[in-house]
Symmetry: C2
Subunit: 138 residues, 2 copies
Amino acid sequence: MEDDSNISELLAARGIRLTRQREKILAILLQQRDHPTASEVYERAKQKMPSISLATVYNSLEALARNGLLKQVNVDRAPTRFCANLEDHSHFFCERCGAIYDVEAAAAQLGNLPPGFVVFHADVALKGLCSTCSDLNV
Amino acid sequence: MEDDSNISELLAARGIRLTRQREKILAILLQQRDHPTASEVYERAKQKMPSISLATVYNSLEALARNGLLKQVNVDRAPTRFCANLEDHSHFFCERCGAIYDVEAAAAQLGNLPPGFVVFHADVALKGLCSTCSDLNV
DNA sequence: CTAGGTGCAAAAGGTTTGCGGTTAA
DNA sequence: TTAACCGCAAACCTTTTGCACCTAG
C-alpha cells in the first residue's frame, strides 16, 4: 500500500487504529472497484488472511465508512455495497446484470420545496442498462 | 372505498385478487400518507382487522407494489416504506426526525456516461431538514 | 500498558416461505 | 369450483453484539 501513513494519520486523528485487517480491506476496495458486498470483501480477504472473520469485515467497513475512507452504496433492499471512490460521483445500476458503475456526478434540478425545507444533499441514482447489457438487447 | 371497481379491474387484469386485506392495506396507505413501514401498516390494519397477519401485510404490499398500486421507498438500510402517491415525485428525507415527504419531482442533469450506457430512470433522493426541524435549529 | 480491535458464536431485525385451511371470482 | 390467498410458524439473510483474548500506539 502506497500511502498507509496518510490513512494511518487520518484514522489516528479520530482515535481509530489502522489494523492489518482494515488495511487489507481497504486495499481490496481500492484494487478492485466493483462495489463488493461485505461478504464479497470477506471472501477476497480470506484468501490472504484466512483467519479474518465476517464480523470484523463488517465492523471494519463500518469504521472505514464512518471515517470517510469508504462510501456505502445501497440499492433497494440488496446488501450494502462499498466504494473506495471518494470523489464526487453518481452510481449507475444496471438492471440486467446488477453491476454498479461509478459515473460522472449528475446534478439535481430541484423542484419547489415547501417553505422551510433545507436540502443538504441530492443523491442521484441512475438505473438502466450498461454497455454490455444494452448490446445484448439488440 | 370509492373506486374499488377500478382497483379490482386493474388487479384482475393480472390474475390478482382484491381481497379484504389488500383493500384495507391500500386504504391505509391512501388515507395517511406518511410512508409507513410494513410493521406500521400492520399495526394500523390490526385495529380494524385484528386477525390480519404481518406476513399477509408483507405479501400484500409486495403484490400491490408489483402491480403498480404502491411504490416502495428505501432509505439506506432502514425498513422499506410504502407510498400510495403514483404521480411523478421525489422524496425528501429529514435527517433529524426521519420523516419522508413527497416533493415536486426533481430533474437530474446527467453527466457524461460511458458509451453504450442507457438510462431508464434517474431517482433523486433529497436529504436535509424539514420545516419543523429547521425551525428547531435556530 | 491499555483502549480499541479481533474472532467466534449467538442474537437481532426485516422479510420470505411452506403448509393446511379459506375465499374471491 | 378452484387457483389464489390467508394466518401461522419457521426459515432466511444481512448485520450487530457480547465476550474473552489480542495488539497497535
